[in-house]
Amino acid sequence: MSQTSTIGKAINLGLRRALEDDPKVVLMGEDIGRLGGVFRVTDALQKDFGEDRVIDTPLAESGIVGTAVGLAMRGYRPVCEIQFDGFVYPAFDQIVCQVAKMHNRSLGTIPMPIVIRIPWGGGIGAVEHHSESPEAYFCHTAGLKVLAPSNPNDAYWMIQQAIASDDPIIFFEPKRRYHEKGEIDTDLGLAGAYPLHASRVARPGSDVTVVAYGPMVRTCLDAAVAAEADGRSLEVIDMRTLSPLDMGPVYESVRRTGRLVIAHEAPGNVGLGAEIATRVMQECFYSLEAPVLRVTGYDTPYPQSRLEEEFLPDLDRVLDAVDRTFAY
C-alpha cells in the first residue's frame, strides 16, 4: 500500500510497526511519551504500547544510552531518542566506549542492537546546541554504523531495518525536513525495501556528480532543477549510509561525469566530504576532469539563527561549486 506521509510521520509509523513486530523493542527518551517527543515523532506510541515500552526517561542522556546497554544485554532492542543533536554529548562516553565496543570486546558474544535517533542539523531558527551536525564523530568510531535518511519512504524503512539490525546504529533524522511529504510504500517489507547500507542515485544526470545526505539531498535536488534550466545535468547521489559508506554508485557516477561536488551542513574540516573525496581520488583518479569540491558549513560554532542561512550550504553555494568544477 502506498500512502503520503511526512518524514516525521514516516518514522512514527516505522517505530509503531517495529513495536508491533517485536515485543523486545523499547523506545526511550526525554518527553517521548505523553508529549510524543518535542517533534511529535513518537506521537501516540506510549498511549498504544504503554509506559513500559515507550519510556519517558529522566533528563540524563548518559543514562538513556547507558541503560540501553544493559537492556540490550538483557535481550531488548532499545531505540533511544536524543532530543536534539547538541544534547548527545553527555552520552558520548557511553556510545563510544561501551555501545561501540561491546560486541568486539565480548568476543562477538554480546551484540548491541541499539538505535540512537537524533533529530539533527540546522535551519529551524533555534538557539544554540539545537542545530549541530556531529555525524563525523560517530563515523570515526569503529563499531558504530551511521545512517541518514532524506525522504519519507527511506525514513519509514530505514528505521525498521535499523531496529532489526544487530549493529548499534546512530540514526540521524533531518529535523528541518520533518514536515516534507512523500509517498511511502508500506508493503515492501524489510527485505524488499532498498538495502539499508547502500547509497542511491536520487536524480540521474550526466555532467557533474553531486553527493549529499540527510537534509542536503533536497537542497541538491533543487539545485539540479535550477541547473537544468542552465543546460547542466546534475546527478544527485543520496548517501543514506554514512558509516560504512557505500561508494559504488559514487564511483560509477564520477567515472561518467568526471566531476564531483560534495555537500554537507557539517563543518568541512575532517568532515565526511574529506573521506568521500579521498576515496574518489583513489578510485577514479583518471576519470576526474576537475578537483573534487566541497560545499559545507564553516569551521565555526553554529551561528545565531539570524545568520544560519549564511552558514548552511544552500542552492546558490552548490551551484557556485558546480560552476567552479567547470572552470578547470
Partner: protein, 401 residues
C-alpha cells in the same frame, strides 16, 4: 531525617541542631514519592508568607524588612512578570525565535536574587530573567539569544552573572569550579567573602553533571549554593516520574545541608538563600535549596502544556500566586494603597514598552562576525574561510542578492 526541611549539617557546626528542636512549618507526609502536586497539597517547606498574604513565623528563618523594602520586593515581582509577558508577546508576534517564561517563578527568582551580595557570582539556566533583573543588568541582555541576533554572549565576570546555559546542568559544574577558585583565592571566611549560586531545574537534578557538581562542591567545601527551582516539570515529565524522594533530601547524601522552601513566597526564599549564601561565604561549605514552585506558562513558547497537564492543576497553583500574596500582604499591612499599585503597573508598562522598542531595533548581526571570536589566537583555517566567505558574498553584489 527527623524533620522535613534540612538535611543534616554535614560539617563542623553541629548536626541538625538548627531545626531538630522545632517542628517544621507544615506537616509532612512520609515522603517516598512526592505526589503533592497531583493531590493538590503542599509538602513541608519553609514559608513566611501564606498564599493569603499573612505573615507566619518559622523557627529558623525570618526576615526583617522595612516597609520600603517590602514594597521594593513587590515592585521587582511585578516588573519581572511584566517584562516576561512582553517576552512572550514579542515571540508571538514573530519578533523572537523562542521565549522561556518565568511566569509563576518570580518569587523564587527575586527572593534568591535579592539575597545576593554585590560580590556574589550567579550561574543561571535560560529562565532566570528575574535574577538577572536583581543584578541591575539591562533586561534586554538575554534577548539577543532569543531573537537570534547573537549567541547570548556577554562578559560574565563583569556582570557577576554568567551567560544563559542551555545544555541542562552544565553550569552547576562551572559554578562549583568558580567557587573552588574563590576558595583558592582566599576570598571567603569573612562577611565580604564571595559566594556563588547555581540555578537549575527539577529535571536537571537527574543529570550527571549536576550530581558531579554536588560531589565536587562537597569534596572541596566550595562556597556554592545550588538553587533548584522545582517547577514540577521538565518540559512534559512531572518531577515524581524522575525523583522518588524530595529533591532537597539529596543534599544529605552528598554531605551538605538541603532545605525546601515555598518558592512562591519571596520572603521565605530570600531568607533561606541569604542563610545559605552567608554560610558559603563564611567557609561553611555548599548548600542545596529546593524552591517549590510551578511553571505557570508553557516550557517555552514552542511547547504545548495541554498535552501533558490539566488546566485544574494550573488553576490550583494560580491560587498560590507569588504576586497576589505579596500584594495582599502589602494591603493587609497598610503598606501600599491603590495609587501605589496603579503607579507600579504604569511603571512596569513603561519598562515593557521601552524593552519592546529596543528589542525591535536590535541591530542585525554582521554575517562575517561568525569568524571573529572562534579562537583567542586566531587560526589560518578561519582566516581562509573568512576570506572565501567575503569573496563569495561580494560576488553577488549588485546582482540583487
Amino acid at each position: 531525617m527527623v524533620n522535613g526541611e534540612r538535611g543534616p549539617r554535614a560539617t563542623k557546626s553541629g548536626g541538625t541542631t538548627r531545626t531538630a528542636a522545632k517542628k517544621p512549618a507544615a506537616p509532612r507526609k512520609k515522603a517516598t514519592t512526592d505526589r503533592s502536586v497531583a493531590n493538590g497539597t503542599d509538602p513541608a517547606f519553609v514559608q513566611l508568607l501564606t498564599p493569603e498574604g499573612d505573615r507566619v513565623e518559622h523557627p529558623d528563618y525570618s526576615v526583617d524588612f522595612t516597609d520600603q523594602e517590602y514594597r521594593d520586593l513587590y515592585r521587582d515581582l511585578v516588573i519581572v512578570r511584566r517584562l516576561d509577558t512582553e517576552g512572550t508577546t514579542l515571540q508571538r508576534q514573530g519578533q523572537l525565535g523562542i521565549w522561556a517564561s518565568l511566569n509563576g517563578q518570580e518569587a523564587a527568582q527575586i527572593g534568591s536574587g535579592r539575597a545576593l551580595a554585590q560580590q556574589d557570582m550567579v550561574f543561571p539556566t535560560y529562565r532566570e530573567h528575574g535574577v538577572l533583573w536583581c543584578r541591575d543588568i539591562d533586561p534586554i541582555m538575554p534577548f539577543g539569544l532569543f531573537r537570534g541576533v547573537d549567541l547570548g554572549g556577554w562578559d560574565s565576570r563583569k556582570y557577576k552573572f554568567n551567560m544563559y546555559t542551555i545544555v541542562i546542568g552544565a553550569q552547576t559544574l562551572h559554578a562549583t569550579g568558580y567557587a573552588m577558585g574563590v576558595k583558592l583565592d582566599g576570598k571567603m571566611g569573612t562577611d565580604d567573602g564571595e559566594a556563588v549560586i547555581a540555578y537549575f531545574g527539577d529535571g536537571a537534578i537527574s543529570q550527571g553533571d549536576v550530581n558531579e557538581a554536588f560531589v565536587y562542591a562537597a569534596a572541596y567545601d566550595a562556597p556554592v549554593v545550588f538553587f533548584c527551582q522545582n517547577n514540577q516539570y521538565a518540559i512534559s515529565v512531572p518531577v515524581h516520574k524522575q525523583a522518588k524522594a524530595p529533591l532537597f533530601e539529596r543534599a544529605s547524601g552528598f554531605g551538605f545541608p538541603g532545605v525546601r522552601v515555598d518558592g512562591n513566597d519571596v520572603l521565605a526564599t530570600y531568607a533561606v538563600t541569604k542563610d545559605a549564601l552567608d554560610r558559603a561565604r563564611h567557609g561553611e561549605g555548599p548548600g542545596l535549596i529546593e524552591a517549590y514552585t510551578y511553571r505557570m506558562a508553557a516550557h517555552t513558547t514552542t511547547d504545548d502544556p495541554t498535552r501533558y497537564r490539566d488546566r485544574s492543576e494550573e488553576d490550583a497553583w494560580r491560587l498560590k500566586d507569588p504576586l497576589s500574596r505579596m500584594k495582599a500582604f502589602l494591603e493587609k499591612q497598610g503598606l501600599a494603597d491603590e495609587d501605589y499599585f496603579a503607579e507600579l503597573t504604569a511603571e512596569a508598562d513603561r519598562y515593557a514598552l521601552d524593552l519592546r522598542e529596543r528589542v525591535l531595533s536590535m541591530p542585525e548581526p554582521d554575517p562575517s562576525s561568525i569568524f571573529d571570536h572562534v579562537y583567542p589566537n586566531g587560526s589560518p583555517l578561519i582566516d581562509e574561510q573568512r576570506a572565501e566567505f567575503l569573496a563569495y558574498h561580494a560576488s553577488f553584489e549588485g546582482s540583487g542578492h
